[in-house]
């Protein structure tokens, strides 16, 4: 047992850190440090820089352009990227669609979609959830009927993140409503968002941003060649996809960046006449977060190396621990960031960055994004399988109560 990174892993971390430092556009870095979400062009630009380096496909096998990293290296890479902070790779392309096509796709599908997904020439979105099918995903109803060499799709998806940016959507659809088990009538279909009959409607979330959408399908004709895997076997594709979110599921780097930020801002604001950073109770709250971050880091290393040792096959139920603790830490750290900001974090500041305008600063630059980040992260315990569902998984897989 050794909790230290090996010397070559440390060297790898330094290489990644240096590359990000030297190549991340400074404007993106500065905005993200202040809590702003990266824009679509910023996300695309950064993924292309990483792709040129051969790192965007960090989790793909070598023969499909992956860098051939160990699970530990992948984790290090993701953490460094998150805590820089740099835009995340588009997970729909890289951790969801890519591995699915590599595992289940036809040669033609791989040739056609993988390079474009890696370079973010196509922006993908995930059409799984429906109004009636959230935690109970297998109850989905969007129907795809075979008609010659096409499927005709009718139905509705919801909570489709970034569908308004997307060129393509990978969808779960029901191809056999009569199947004895609900899971057996589902297929995995790739849908071009420009096809007639696809309509995207925005959902504004509680942070005021447009991230979520409803997607309606009305007689949408999808070429049958866009079926991934066998017809009615889409559930196993979906399960494979959801299992692949394991590395980096805790998004620890974001929490680490938040903890860093609380300390920075706490030097600027006051509590009882002194800098907040000198307040013992505040320091105890930071210390508590650091305890949780460290526990999570070790936990993550354990899960990742067990995954590696099993040859990347056995899904580890302890990844549910990562999801639960990771999202709790995301929520608690963003909460502390906001608390440090205090009243200044409450207005909807219209001015983006005073540093970038000639007008007098209405508010400190750090204030604008504290509440939105906190608000949006309330969703972290909802998406990717709610934390209640994660506990059900732990019960089934480990506790067997």
């Amino acid at each position: 047992m050794d909790l230290q990174l090996a010397p070559e892993e440390v060297a790898f971390r330094d290489e990644v850190r240096t590359f990000i430092r030297d190549n991340l556009p400074p404007n993106t870095r500065d905005r993200m440090r202040l809590g702003y979400k990266p824009s679509k062009p910023e996300i695309i630009a950064w993924q292309r820089i990483l792709n040129a380096k051969g790192w965007a496909t960090f989790n793909w096998p070598r023969e499909y352009g992956g860098p051939g990293w160990s699970a530990i290296q992948r984790m290090i890479f993701l953490e460094e990227n998150l805590s820089a902070p740099a835009p995340e790779l588009l997970s729909f392309n890289i951790t969801m669609l890519g591995p699915v096509l590599i595992q289940f796709g036809t040669e033609e599908q791989k040739r056609r979609f993988l390079p474009r997904a890696a370079n973010l020439d196509d922006w993908w979105c995930q059409g799984f959830s429906e109004p009636g099918a959230g935690s109970d995903l297998a109850s989905l109803r969007t129907a795809a009927k075979r008609d010659g060499d096409h499927y005709v799709v009718n139905g509705q998806k919801i909570w489709t993140s970034t569908a308004h940016h997307a060129d393509w959507c990978f969808c779960l659809v029901r191809t056999n409503p009569q199947a004895p088990k609900r899971q057996e009538g589902i297929s995995f279909l790739l849908i071009d968002m420009k096809t007639p009959g696809v309509e995207v409607r925005p959902i504004i979330s509680i942070d005021g941003s447009h991230h979520l959408n409803e997607v309606f399908f009305t007689d949408v004709r999808v070429p049958a060649e866009n079926l991934v895997g066998e017809e009615n076997k889409g559930w196993s594709v979906a399960k494979y996809l959801l299992g692949n979110e394991r590395t980096g599921i805790a998004r620890l780097g974001i929490s680490k960046a938040a903890i860093r930020r609380t300390k920075e801002v706490a030097r600027e604001v006051r509590m009882n006449g002194r800098p907040l950073i000198e307040d013992k109770a505040f320091r105890i709250r930071v210390a508590q977060l650091e305890v949780e971050a460290k526990a999570l880091e070790i936990m993550q290393l354990r899960v990742v190396s067990a995954f590696e040792k099993s040859g990347g096959k056995k899904p580890d139920p302890l990844s549910s621990v990562l999801k639960i603790k990771g999202t709790e830490l995301l929520q608690n750290s963003s909460e502390l960031v906001m608390d440090v900001g205090g009243p200044q974090a409450m207005p909807v500041w219209q001015q983006e960055l005073a540093a970038l305008t000639n007008e007098p600063a209405l508010a400190p630059d750090w204030a604008a994004q504290m509440a939105p980040a906190y608000l949006m992260l309330r969703a972290a315990s909802i998406y990717g399988g709610t934390n209640e569902i994660q506990k059900n998984i732990l019960n089934k897989a480990v506790l067997e109560l």
Partner: protein, 377 residues
Amino acid sequence: MDFDLTEDQRLLTESVVRLLGDTYSFEQRKQMLSLPNGYSERLWRQYAELGLLGLPFAEDFGGFGGGPVDVMLLMQAFGRHLVLEPYLATVVLSGTALRLAGSDAQQAEIIPAIVSGKTTLAFAHYERQARYDMTDVLTAAKHQDDWLLDGAKSVVLHGDTADQLLVSARTSGERDDPQGLSLFMVDASSPGITRHGYALRDGSRAAEISFSSVHLPTEALLGEQDNALPVIERVVQAGIAATAAEVVGGMETLQAMTLDYLRTRQQFGRPIGENQALQHRAAEMLVNLEQGRSMAMLATMMLGEPDPAERARNISLAKVGVGQAGRFVSQNAIQLHGGIGMTDEYAAGHFFRRIMVFEHLFGDIAYHLDKLADDID
């Protein structure tokens, strides 16, 4: 000890519940948010007609001579509907300052105008650098022939539309000095005042206000020169009690919405509320709501406590208790709604944000725990 309402209080509550039931659905509120003032002037006049704007003021000045419990009941009803009108700013905060510090002449001039709905006020005390520190005031007033006011106030509730501002300023002493603060009544349209209005995260309005060589007449001084801190403290305490009651009202609505959702939302072929894990969570929400309600009552009762230390201590206890309860109830309300709880189209998120905003006014949980910790003997 008596937790029952008087006949008058029951009538008051009923009339307010009826009015808000008719006028304050989530959809109606959404339209009010887009009005220029960010609230309904028509409803403000109706509050005046119902006597709500005169509730805590003395009958001599056209008020109704009500007490803190009346205000609590009203704020709780407001909280159930996320009311947007500047009641807290005008009647609770500024009204408390006027009642405690205003001369008879000042009260006779302004209070009838408040009661009739003609004039709105804002309490402009906290500054950007101060965060929650009550004595961190840099805005200064110098006395020459008249008063000359310079400085800036931050996150002034309803400061964008108020007709009159109650402004705290240093008339002597240094930053953080408890002595040397004074309060002034300032016409918001005076030359030298710049106001920048915006919405807070819950949709209610506030402003950054700066004062640049603003001339004030001698009689603008409200209360004792250099000794306004005790008044400011009581204004803040009244604000804590009122917002605590609003948070209780908000928690009541969130709890009801969540229970309703647990009963109706189906997953895995049955209502999600049949999962014992969620039943326990709802029970914990109820525990928190009731603890919070007790603490909101404590804050209200303590407004009349004559011993300043005892009053401050209990109100800090209440602010912490209500803050923690509000956090628990609002966070879990969203969680139990799943994706729908995250949308702006759904009311839960709006309650969530109001509770969040109130938690960060007048000192947050950490601030009041800090004060309480300093006091442990």
